[in-house]
Amino acid sequence: MATIYSLYVINKSGGLIFYKDYGSAGRMDTNDSLRMASLWHSMHAISQQLSPISGCYGIELLQADTFDLHCFQSLTGTKFFVVCDTGTQHMEGLLKHIYELYTDYVLKNPFYEMEMPIRCELFDIKLSQAIQKDSVALLGR
């Protein structure tokens, strides 16, 4: 069954600007989520250097025994990554959709300061709608 455990958004300097967890498994407190974000940011950067293929832009998918981690990096350096159940499909589409929601409801908010933590209610509402719609769509298959 497709389940999303958590969603992280990291700014271009590696700081966590948004964290939301959905499942009971893998719930983290604030410090742990910040640590996870910086860890992922560094790993993503290192992977670009280590890659044997030139023109590599970083890790897109990490598959483990109990979870999958899908990451999307925009050309501006903002990273969106989601920790989900193993074998979940169409996470890239979901991440692109979340990127669009970010550009609409976060960046267009004149009171949102760039690179700061996201505190936009509209973004939260639209995000929950997107995640719910996605789970329903996935369940329907």
Partner: protein, 267 residues
Amino acid sequence: MTFGYGTRLRRRGYLLRCGRQVEMGLISKKKWTGFFRKSPQQLRLPLSSCPSLKPFRASSPTLLYNCTVSLDFSQLSAQISMAPVAPRSGDAIFANVERVNAELFTLTYGAIVRQLLTDLEEVEEVNKQLDQMGYNIGIRLIDEFLAKSNVSRCVDFKETAEVIAKVGFKMFLGVTASVTNWDADGTCCIIVLEDNPLVDFVELPDTCQGLYYCNVLSGVIRGALEMVSMKTEVTWLRDMLRGDDAFELQVKLLKQVAEEYPYKDDE
């Protein structure tokens, strides 16, 4: 071939699945989905464009669970070579976004410039403020541009300028722009705007002759490019409000700043 609900057909790397039941006499083309495993990715394409789906007519008007189809695989294989998400053209995006009244936009911008002139009084100051405002818009606009247009990373500055002119200007202002006059290095070009919605109804008075009325546009380009690690200098070469015959922006690439990570401590 006969398919019932849930049937899977595998043939030389193609997997087709009958998604839903079909009604008598009609095969709704939307209800078929094909999962193609020809490439490492699984591409999911609707078979709506397949012409050889034939309806099966039953004698009784009941819901059919089985239907007979014949599928032309050669046509479908041609579809696989398409990229899963293609970049969208500026026209397509412009047609899809919510529009606002153009006059409202023009009048709002005019009000902003007038207010700045009243507050700052110096034409040079106003030019700088407009550029700064444009910069603040540009640093946020770039993400929306990248999200909605699906453009991939540009190979060189020439491609960047083309994308700005053809997709960017079209998508946000609805104007067609073109790129001309490349210098030898490929770092400096001129973007020509065919028309400019900001300057409808505007005439510059004699007291404001040094004003670059559309300076916000140069700030937008500068801000947007800075967020994708390109330091540029954008200036107005020709401005119709100042008596020239076209709107021309010169975009010059100063430096390409790659992402830097602090590997060593400062000593």
